[in-house]
Symmetry: D2
Subunit: 284 residues, 4 copies
Amino acid sequence: MDEFKITAQRYGKRKVRVLRVERLSDGTHKIHEVDVAVFLDGDVLPAYYGNDNSGVVATDTIKNTIQALAQKHLGDVIEEFALTLGDHFLAKYPHMTRAVVEVASRTWDRYIRPDGSAHPHTFLGGSTTPITKVDMTRSSVKVESGIRDLLLLKSTGSGWAGYPRDEYTTLPETTDRILSTQVEGNWTFANRSVDFGKANRAILAALLNTFAETYSPSVQNTLYSSAKAALEAVADVVEISFALPNKHYLLVNLSPFGLQNNSEIFLPTDEPHGQIEARISRSA
Amino acid sequence: MDEFKITAQRYGKRKVRVLRVERLSDGTHKIHEVDVAVFLDGDVLPAYYGNDNSGVVATDTIKNTIQALAQKHLGDVIEEFALTLGDHFLAKYPHMTRAVVEVASRTWDRYIRPDGSAHPHTFLGGSTTPITKVDMTRSSVKVESGIRDLLLLKSTGSGWAGYPRDEYTTLPETTDRILSTQVEGNWTFANRSVDFGKANRAILAALLNTFAETYSPSVQNTLYSSAKAALEAVADVVEISFALPNKHYLLVNLSPFGLQNNSEIFLPTDEPHGQIEARISRSA
Amino acid sequence: MDEFKITAQRYGKRKVRVLRVERLSDGTHKIHEVDVAVFLDGDVLPAYYGNDNSGVVATDTIKNTIQALAQKHLGDVIEEFALTLGDHFLAKYPHMTRAVVEVASRTWDRYIRPDGSAHPHTFLGGSTTPITKVDMTRSSVKVESGIRDLLLLKSTGSGWAGYPRDEYTTLPETTDRILSTQVEGNWTFANRSVDFGKANRAILAALLNTFAETYSPSVQNTLYSSAKAALEAVADVVEISFALPNKHYLLVNLSPFGLQNNSEIFLPTDEPHGQIEARISRSA
Amino acid sequence: MDEFKITAQRYGKRKVRVLRVERLSDGTHKIHEVDVAVFLDGDVLPAYYGNDNSGVVATDTIKNTIQALAQKHLGDVIEEFALTLGDHFLAKYPHMTRAVVEVASRTWDRYIRPDGSAHPHTFLGGSTTPITKVDMTRSSVKVESGIRDLLLLKSTGSGWAGYPRDEYTTLPETTDRILSTQVEGNWTFANRSVDFGKANRAILAALLNTFAETYSPSVQNTLYSSAKAALEAVADVVEISFALPNKHYLLVNLSPFGLQNNSEIFLPTDEPHGQIEARISRSA
């Protein structure tokens, strides 16, 4: 044994992309496009300490497995596909003790014709990214789903006041500002026997409803209220985390040009940005 | 005079971002968010050849002008805002001979509540980017509009066959493949007195309808047919250009795993990609 | 008390960029450009549960503080600046219990004239990004530094063999391949009284030397050997983590064109990629 | 004939990546990594107007050709490889009238050991991107080379004054500011019989020397002076274009915090940015 030791490892394949065309009996197609990562852990340390690779399933094999299993198992619910992949690797390789599977879904919206009918096989790229992460051992499984790339803005109904002032404080208080964020949300399910699709839709609806309909005294409060509404809506969810950038829209000073700016003209900015992150759980 | 000469120049400000909140009388808000670039040309060469900056309107001034004029002029039609900016700089500075104004619009879709009603001031980020470019002198004006970030896919109704074969050709012919592209479209208007909003919507509808409803024997033919449909739909458009990447979805070989792949499992790829570009005009 | 509770939070400001010009007495300039994030935790939950913001230092104030303290404290060693910022917020706000400060450095290399002399105030953008993260409470401090954007390639001296084969394995074994990675490295210091600059240089040298001079039977082994060399070189470092993508260069099959490819022509790829991650500590 | 006509087209393959390992007789390796695009034009319009693809060399064939010819022809000088590719397609396909080949080079710097010796087969990723574009017909050839991703900064020796002031002007004049840009340079060679490598090195040296050693009264003047120096240095170059973003570093107002800012603390910004573009030719 060495004077140094490996205290954690994981390895695998990232950015394995797959699209499955699902042909329905009525001639309509459904498409499922995902970007998958699989990480494995187990009895693989000899490959690190020396040159014994006999425990290390090649990441190329991991890629092939994802593509092959997609044919039968990739469908509407990315959580189910992730669970299938995790089950496969733990069943196949007794020396592996843990599998982490991450799936990000590229959303494709069905093209709606001018007459309102849905086209059977034409799709437009969507703008949000549902994700899931399955972390499993032989005795446990954690399913965490979430959303990326959800961009929200409200042009009123938001303020920021009552915060501490010190010698570096220059920001004025306001009860009417623009609030905009790009939601990074994650929620943990109680177990693997959940109607994931239904749950995800309910959580998203709770988030949007809270953002739209409630006055925001702070990003913090909007974050908590959204998570609370989602936890109330979906009993199968144990906890919710949000990471919300505060994408500032700065009021432009037009007075040098003899103009008043009554909360009308703003400078959208990406940096710097506030960042508010919290995890909300059910009380014991 | 020098032994070297400047044969072309333009200068200006890029990535000037502005959002305008338009407050309607019924309490509803409209928002207009744009990313603007303005380039100027004229009697500015002394700044290049020496240190006489007396003709060079500071790009900081250009930025301020964009923000100030947005208050009154930034609305639903980005072409009108671009024309206003171009008019301003040529009117203000007699020594300037040309103004190029580029506007890209960030689309925000109004949040639709579960009951189907539209929220008055909450918006979700959209997924396409309408653009316009106004190129004007005192005696001419060219208005070119277009679209970016429009991602399309059809899971059947596309083929590729009959092409030349040489010693470097390995691709098999097919009459059923996935066709996917990210449309970069530009169209030139006959003059500045056009209902730009209406025209842009008609062009987009023609493009989508052609892509969805017509068999594609090649990206080339789909490009031409889409442009033709758009030119037929909008008399005010003189010519249309499309640059269409062919975002290949490669059929995965599952036979090493004892599986057949009946056009079901594909590998989405970004590189390399085919690239098809053409400009279509009305015949004289 | 609610039926839901916040079990973790942090908030702050991200992407606060600062450049300091340091004027030396001989007329030479040094420049220090950083991208800073500061996150705070403490008695701030009332802002989440309701509208009491009295504990929430505005993120705008955080930004101002970073800029103001940069004047005196931003220098060659980003770890020292991060520690100063963390100390400030904990000293200033008794109700805050934890400060996390992240600093990424944009490297600028001094321009070397054709005669070999260093220019006093002209710089070229470098290609790697040193980072640090200070995580402190009133009773503890953890300083973790690292590197991003370090791109390495060796065109021989690397192989991959002896791995398990199953029904999804198609990859052939090799003892001569290209190995390329983009190093994401992090190392934890034993305390805050370290010559951080010297330590970072020694770690980087150990990493590069190992990568270059040792045959790689796997990314895993190269990762471990590099970390081992770095831990041997710097006694002040407690543990090292590396996350190494295996950026595959695929041998191109030229046989359809009547050509042999003796490990000469490769297809560089970004996706999918292997990903190898491990943490190495000193044995107790 | 249709009532619409195609007035311009080009098609081809983009992002064809290749790395060649060149094995020298002393055991040292050289590596050449490029990203190639090839566009073709000629008698291909029937594929647009209908479904006759007999003139359209498949873009997959184009990719194969690039990879196959790389084995013999990809070396130190990317211009030579681009010319070889252009020659090939025009020689092979009589119905093609024009070939455009674009090559971007990923720079890899040889690893220098602590003892100063160069490692035979280990490389670090560089930070600039040399490019070339060959545009040829059977009777003409234009070779244009250039540089991307060259990031420069001088912390003094730059000013901006004497510009027009109008009602939208708020910027103060200065004779001491930071000047930073990311050079996009292109230069056109007189013919194809040039020592391209030597010429490119001389142009780059002229640019760097001018930027570093000359006071800049404007980006415009620095652009012209750099181009002039390059044209003077390399007789084989006909004209040079630069597109220089003015990446503003804004002086931070520290006075609210009781601090003076003597051109020491700056806010680096990416947007908005000035943009200065010009083409300089030899006078007839």
